[in-house]
Symmetry: C2
Subunit: 242 residues, 2 copies
């Protein structure tokens, strides 16, 4: 049973529970198919981590960093489970990056690693959609990472996941990424401690923990699935105008 | 007469008008000294522009870019007129950057340069506070630019400013930066068009248009004034723990 944010048939936004393909809120139960699933959080910011798996750093030809490589996606990037994301037009290399995302539960700053669990609301699946055409040309990855629809997340929030949760991404049914969060370079408590040394995190803020090896192209018409053990499967479609 | 966002003596947040050192809301008029001035916008994101004055690019030893250099500050960076900002502890080189900021009035995407004026709510003064210790070590300027209190702005929103508005920054009364927005490399309409090619801007979002030459250090106890012709003077104090 996981937390799910949805719009009910009357159009009202609710925070309910998903159980046996039914969405529960109060005494109401809806067929999962009858509701619009919304992103499981409304972040004021998404703090993303780059190169947090050694094999992904390797495939990008980059060194493993000595401290977390951080970048930002603003709220305009959020997209939900079941949506069709629109990619920037006319770009040649836009890629998927399957990631575990952490949703923050309370306003916090200067969090000690040993207290990090206390500020976590839950875990969800995340696609760090990346526009390499621009990313490779800019100091800060804004055109490359912060465009509209660049952060699909969902479908639910899980309160607990295994320490070695499997992460898999499929495009049109074909497996492209397959790894486990046990290969993190920096742990979630280390990431929360480092980020909150500099900035206050707010309830609903998201930390995207980096992608494993196997990133690859997305093109018009693709169907993406990101499955993380203990959470479920985020699915979205892709549209790109020429 | 300019728009001013403030907390009235009863603690309520209001959008009023500043006139002759009095803040007006409905039939009430308060002494400016009797209210808390708040940041003139509540952005979902601040899109900042780097190297938008040739002489500042020069002083940093950088080339003038062929398209706007963009980076992001999240809402946690916002600080208000009259506040004391706290800088990250233990950093040796934190600097001021006086900038004109543009506040967006409506949700917009793919804005043509000739329509850019229609999406602007107003103009305010902005300090792009920059932590060079970390900025120089990271790909994306997150620790360097996105920390808490790194975006003081205010005191008011002006609807119109001259095309050659003077920008001046003083620290403890001494002038450090003195230029004019007539030296922009990329104009405000060009910036809005470029940014909204990639991302939707929301009401209250802020574009910080870059700093002229003369950036320099901030240290514990400093008093900063940023004056822009047609707007007024943003003032804030600085605290930094060792």
């Amino acid at each position: 049973m996981h937390d799910i944010r949805f719009r009910d048939p009357a159009g009202t936004v609710r925070n309910g529970l998903l159980h046996d393909d039914h969405v529960h809120f109060g005494d109401d139960a809806h067929d999962l198919e009858a509701v619009d699933v919304l992103a499981p959080a409304e972040p004021t910011k998404i703090v993303c981590v780059g190169r947090n798996y050694a094999r992904h750093a390797e495939e990008r030809g980059e060194d493993v960093p000595d401290r977390p490589l951080l970048f930002l996606k603003p709220p305009n990037a959020v997209a939900s489970h079941g949506s069709t994301i629109t990619l920037p037009a006319g770009k040649e290399q836009i890629e998927h990056e399957a990631e575990l995302a952490v949703v923050i539960d309370e306003q916090c700053k200067d969090v000690d690693p040993e207290d990090a669990d206390d500020v976590i609301r839950g875990y969800t699946c995340f696609n760090d959609v990346s526009n390499r055409d621009d990313q490779s040309r800019e100091q800060n990855w804004v055109r490359g990472k912060a465009f509209d629809n660049a952060a699909p997340m969902g479908p639910v929030l899980a309160e607990e996941i295994p320490d070695d949760a499997a992460v898999e991404l499929r495009v049109n049914g074909e497996t492209r990424q397959s790894s486990s969060i046990e290969h993190f370079i920096f742990s979630i408590p280390e990431l929360i401690a480092e980020i909150t040394t500099y900035m206050t995190l707010e309830p609903g803020d998201v930390i995207a923990t980096g992608t494993p090896e196997g990133v690859g192209p997305l093109t018009d018409g693709d169907h993406v699935e990101i499955e993380i053990e203990g959470i479920g499967t985020l699915e979205h479609d892709v549209r790109q105008d020429a």
